[in-house]
Amino acid sequence: MQSKILSRPTLPIIILTGAVLSLALLLYFVPKILTQRGSAPLIENIVTPSEQEQASSGLPVRLKIPLIKVDAVVEYVGLTSDGAMDVPKSQDDVAWFELGQRPGDNGSAAIAGHYGRKNKRASVFDNLYKLREGDKLYIEDDKGVTIPFVVRESRRYDPQADAPDVFSSNDGKSHLNLITCEGVWNEALQSYSKRLVVFTDREQIN
């Protein structure tokens, strides 16, 4: 009797609907990441660090992270009145902490971007959490030079945590650290519960 029931036309409809829903969920929550891993970035004029690492880099003008489709204008920010790194004005832009190092110079440069949907639009670093060790990103500076970086690791911090490793380093190498928010939105504090920092190193080309 049971087998008879399952042989009815209803069953394929349910299976098909479930499959479509599963696919939709998959595409919604894990968009494009698999298809983009390993895709060749459209970046030109990349410089290697061997000869120019000690020289001053130009001012950053764009940040490109092909894997998560980030191609953002770089704003320049300083500190807020409470001593925090300021944030970009635009939801689509990223902000370089200009009181720190320049991307490409020895030391740690910091770039922040917004997280969260606003006005039904995604923010530039909504998918920053998807970056993994070995993923690449690029800085274009005002001299027309593109500087490649490679993801080393990601860390989560409390919002008020001291994070000197984000803004400084003394290993004589060039780093770029990307900062955004994640976690649960706290309406009272107008803040998410965590800060995500993706640490990257200037790509070494032998």
Binding site: Q54, S56, L59, G83, N106, V166
Partner: protein, 634 residues
């Protein structure tokens, strides 16, 4: 008449008789008012005025050689000399000897003497020596009112002398100044701070004289035994000899004028550059003009003279002056017919920045409405337009006005983030009632990246005369704003516009730290006048080796009045290379907190694609279980 015909012929050469008559009346009125204004200026120059003594004001004795061989002399005030006395005087002296500010005091002595010598005599005695206590040519015997008293011969105070009335007294002689033993000089409604004696030969006060005022006499000053003196013996370059005397320096403050009609203003303000780890703000550097505390942005209507801007130093910061003040903070402030002055103290935290933060640039324009109140006192509304002409947003925007308050923000902060963004134009307004012709000055300040940006705007409203005052406006933008790799060339572009209602003549632009300012373009009709629709462009190029703030000054004139505007800009020069800065965490010297980049989620931002599919799935399940139940029953 020629002037009016010239103006009219641009539109229509025909002038009717009625028009001519009306023009003539207007012309007469304008000329009358102009004459009255010029006369007022002339009167000001003829009245005796007290000179500025600067740091010399605190000296009771200032000499190259100071001689005092007996005990019993008391000097309450500084004593300056290079060759000191055998017996040191008693009394209180903050400065004693040749230490700083001895040399500077000597300079001020000279400038004060020049200021005194330049004033026109209000009474000239007859030839030969004169006894001031018995002279009958100047007025009541033994009584003197404020003025400049000149003599071609020696002056002697042979007996009682009374200086009566508030004002400045100057006794100038091309000879010696002496007193007779026991002579007494008294004051009635006069201040010892306003009494000056300037002989060209030696001063000798006899024993037991009671004397008041400041003697400036490099030929030497000898004070007789037991003489008491309220004032100063200034003989820098000469000798002062005392003998059981008491000399006391009075405290003489420079009082700003209470009226804006009489004098031009000096506007003082700070400019702070924190590009090497500093965190100071304006309040960390108290400002003083002639020793009187002033706040950044304050404008003071002051009598002509030399003024000195000083500040309380803060360790770790350099202090330099820009604007109309010289390297020592001094400004020779003029009277009517000259310009308003600004003096800026730039404080830069010591050190060469490893990276160059982008300095902000702010611009303010002020336009009064109306520009003139020909019928007399009335309400004036000032509209202040503030722009961000740089590349970084500014915070902590402040507006400091000299006489109009409150200055309220009317509009402009489009995104209500309290930051003056690059594309925003903020409008402030302030209304006040003017009862006399007045020049109102405002100072706009903003901050970004630890650096302040300042601009100042002035506007004159004429009260009681049909004269439209001119307005001028200048902006200055450096290119580049930073020199990230050390010294380099910077080009300043200055744009001069006319926000008023009358064309400006004699337009000029100068820059205190970029000498070759070149006119490029803008006089579209080639009439050498800055018309309302024109923008005159000037450029200047210079090489900077360190972080520099400079001031451009634009001047123009119309209707016999002068309009002035200033524009300041900072260019940050970083270290030649940043490799040496590796260990430095950040240029601000502290680790910043992590940024709050989270945006509040949209209310009701449902992922509709998921919701629709979930709905379909729910309907399918409902259909499935309904069917199964029905078939089971079957």
């Amino acid at each position: 008449m020629c002037g009016k015909l010239y103006i009219r012929k641009k539109g229509d050469l025909k002038i009717t008789n009625n028009e001519m008559e009306r023009i003539s009346k207007i012309s007469a009125a304008v000329l009358a008012v102009a004459f009255m204004l010029s006369l007022a200026g002339s009167i000001t120059t003829f009245a005796a005025s007290t000179p500025y003594l600067g740091v010399a004001a605190t000296y009771g004795i200032l000499a190259s050689t100071y001689t005092n061989t007996t005990a019993g002399t008391t000097i309450n005030g500084d004593v300056g000399f290079t060759t000191g006395p055998a017996v040191a005087p008693l009394g209180t002296h903050t400065n004693y000897g040749s230490g700083s500010p001895y040399d500077t005091a000597g300079t001020y002595q000279g400038s004060a003497l020049s200021a005194l010598a330049s004033q026109t005599c209000t009474h000239t005695f007859g030839g030969g020596a004169i006894d001031l206590s018995t002279d009958v040519t100047h007025g009541a015997v033994g009584v003197y009112t404020p003025g400049v008293y000149c003599s071609a011969g020696a002056m002697d105070i042979g007996g009682p002398l009374n200086l009566s009335g508030s004002g400045t007294y100057i006794f100038r002689t091309l000879g010696a100044l002496t007193s007779t033993a026991g002579a007494i000089v008294t004051l009635t409604d006069a201040s010892v701070c306003d009494v000056y004696w300037t002989p060209t030969e030696a001063t000798t006060l006899a024993a037991n004289t009671t004397f008041v005022g400041t003697v400036i006499d490099a030929a030497g000053i000898t004070v007789g035994a037991n003489t008491t003196w309220t004032g100063r013996a200034l003989a820098f370059g000469g000798t002062v000899i005392t003998d059981t005397n008491t000399i006391a320096v009075s405290s003489c403050a420079v009082a700003p004028s209470s009226s804006g009609i009489n004098y031009n203003t000096i506007t003082v303000f700070k400019h702070v550059i924190n590009d090497s780890g500093g965190t100071a703000t304006f309040t960390d550097f108290p400002l003083f003009l002639n020793g009187n505390h002033v706040i950044s942005g304050q404008s003071l209507s002051l009598a002509p003279g030399i003024y000195t801007l000083t500040e309380t130093n803060l360790p770790g910061y350099t202090s330099t002056f820009t604007g109309n003040c010289d390297a020592n903070g001094r400004v020779n402030h003029g009277g009517i017919g000259t310009n308003n002055d600004i003096c800026t103290v730039v404080n830069d935290d010591i050190g060469v920045p490893p990276v160059a933060p982008i300095p902000p640039l702010i611009d303010v324009v002020k336009v009064p409405n109306p520009l003139a109140l020909p019928a007399g006192p009335g309400l004036v509304t000032y509209t202040y337009t503030v722009k961000n002409i740089g590349t970084v947003p500014m915070t902590n925007i402040t507006m400091v006005g000299d006489t109009c308050s409150p200055i309220t923000l009317a509009s402009g902060d489009i995104n209500t983030d309290t930051r003056l963004d690059v594309n925003e134009i903020w409008t402030y307004r302030c209304s006040t009632t003017l009862s006399e012709t007045h020049t109102n000055t405002v100072v706009a300040t903003g901050w970004a990246n630890g650096l302040s940006a300042t601009d100042v705007a002035s506007a004159t409203v004429v009260v009681g005369a049909p004269i439209v005052p001119p307005l001028i406006h200048v902006t200055k933008v450096p290119n580049p704003l930073t020199l990230p790799n050390g010294a380099g060339m910077v080009t300043y572009t200055k744009k001069v516009t006319n926000p008023g209602t009358v064309a400006l003549s004699n337009v000029s632009v100068t820059d205190d730290k970029c000498s070759s300012v070149n006119y490029i373009s803008g006089d579209t009709n080639n009439d050498s006048k800055l018309d309302l629709a024109e923008t005159w462009i000037y450029t200047c190029q210079t090489r900077l080796t360190k972080t520099t703030t400079n001031t451009a000054t634009a001047i123009g004139s119309a209707n016999g009045l002068i309009a002035t505007d200033f524009a300041l800009a900072t260019v940050v020069v970083a270290a030649p290379t940043v490799a040496a800065a590796i260990p430095t965490p950040t240029a601000v010297g502290v680790t910043p907190k992590l940024p709050n980049t989270g945006l509040a989620p949209d209310r009701g931002s449902t992922p509709w694609n998921v919701a629709i599919l979930a709905g379909l799935f729910a309907v399918s399940l409902f259909f499935f279980f309904t069917q199964r139940k029905r078939l089971t029953k079957v």
